[in-house]
């Protein structure tokens, strides 16, 4: 069986693109923490992306709330999803919610992570509500879920603060959430 090998470290030259930029990262320490919050998010990008590797202490959803200066905890959110559980595909959704669903933790065993790539589109717009999408899930070798999720924040305010937290439980050590900005032309 032929193997085509590429020695990645042999690639040279300035290959950095500037449209995708790292803004801030939170890595949870040994004490754990109940939530991860990004504040003072710069308004200089077109879209945001959060890349989440989570170890939640409960088998449950991970929620997201957003806001301008302070987190909006009112029922201004909606979410929808289609998902697979290893046997069946299903869909769900709800409006008038106080959160959006962006990830799900399948196992609380110490080494099992759940991941999400969350896109927050046009977060700086003052003329439209904000839409979020998440490709997320986890597998625990015999159990697991994979989701396509969407969320809505019914506000025309600029988003400059974001909060992630568990439906129950808290984030264990090694949970990491990294916030990136994507520029338009």
């Amino acid at each position: 069986m032929p193997i085509l090998g590429v020695i990645a470290s042999a690639i040279t030259g300035n290959l950095v693109t500037t449209a995708y930029q790292s803004i801030a990262t939170v890595t949870v320490g040994s004490g754990g923490q109940s939530d991860i919050t990004f504040t003072s998010i710069p308004a200089t990008f077109t879209h945001l992306q959060i890349r989440l590797t989570s170890l939640l202490s409960a088998v449950n959803n991970i929620y997201m709330q957003v806001g301008n200066s302070s987190i909006d905890t009112n029922a201004n959110y909606a979410w929808h999803e289609v998902y697979g559980d290893g046997s069946n595909a299903a869909a769900g959704g709800a409006s008038g919610q106080t959160f959006m669903k962006v990830n799900y933790q399948t196992s609380t065993s110490a080494s099992y992570t759940s991941v999400a790539v969350i896109d927050i589109l046009d977060y700086g717009s003052t003329s439209k509500y904000k839409t979020v999408r998440s490709l997320c899930g986890s597998d625990a070798n015999g159990s697991g879920y994979v989701f396509l999720r969407s969320g809505l924040w019914q506000s025309t305010s600029v988003i400059n603060t974001i909060k992630l937290y568990g439906q129950s439980g808290s984030f264990n050590q090694y949970t990491q959430a990294a916030l990136y900005g994507i520029k338009g032309s």
Partner: protein, 171 residues
């Protein structure tokens, strides 16, 4: 918050002859996440893509598992493979101008305290078309230094198939 540019191409390969395997090795350990992008073409027979890490690729290895959501144009479904030899992503045949695509996010690939979870979106355009989302697991705490996309049934990825690996660094 001061932002810093990231999302860098690490390596790209284009097949000049059919091969059942594409490998990126000696992956730098300087990024936070990896993104694996694959565009597959000219496969004469169905290929079952399977992602493996660090040469943990023998048929006896059972350190992988995955949960899949799919739609085939007529219905949605879900399936799972456990204790298997790679993170699977269904593929069909592709010929002519048709391509089958895959984008895999390999998260926190250098973290030696946790198992590695991968989230994949893939799809194919063929007589057995379907779109997939896959949550995959490699039960190892080793940092990932090589990625192999193999063909589980031994059929070749065709001439013109491309694969690119990107790295993203968190602040």
């Amino acid at each position: 918050m001061a932002a810093s540019a990231t999302y860098e191409p690490i390596a790209t390969t284009t097949l000049s002859s059919g091969s059942p395997t594409i490998t990126f090795s000696s992956i730098p350990q300087t990024y936070t996440d990896l993104i694996f992008v694959m565009s597959i073409t000219n496969t004469s027979s169905t290929v079952y893509r399977s992602m493996q890490f660090n040469s943990d690729t023998s048929s006896g290895s059972t350190n992988y598992s995955n949960t899949t959501l799919y739609g085939d144009g007529g219905a949605a479904g879900s399936d799972r493979q456990s204790n298997t030899y790679g993170i699977g992503a269904f593929d069909g045949t592709s010929s002519g101008s048709n391509t089958n695509s895959l984008i895999g996010n390999i998260m926190n690939y250098t973290n030696t305290n946790v198992y590695k979870t991968v989230i994949i979106r893939s799809n194919n355009r063929s007589s057995d078309s379907r779109a997939d989302a896959v949550a995959g697991l490699w039960r190892s705490t080793a940092a990932i230094s090589s990625i192999t996309m193999t063909s589980a049934n031994g059929n070749n990825y065709g001439i013109g198939t491309t694969a690119t690996l990107y790295g993203i660094s968190a602040a």
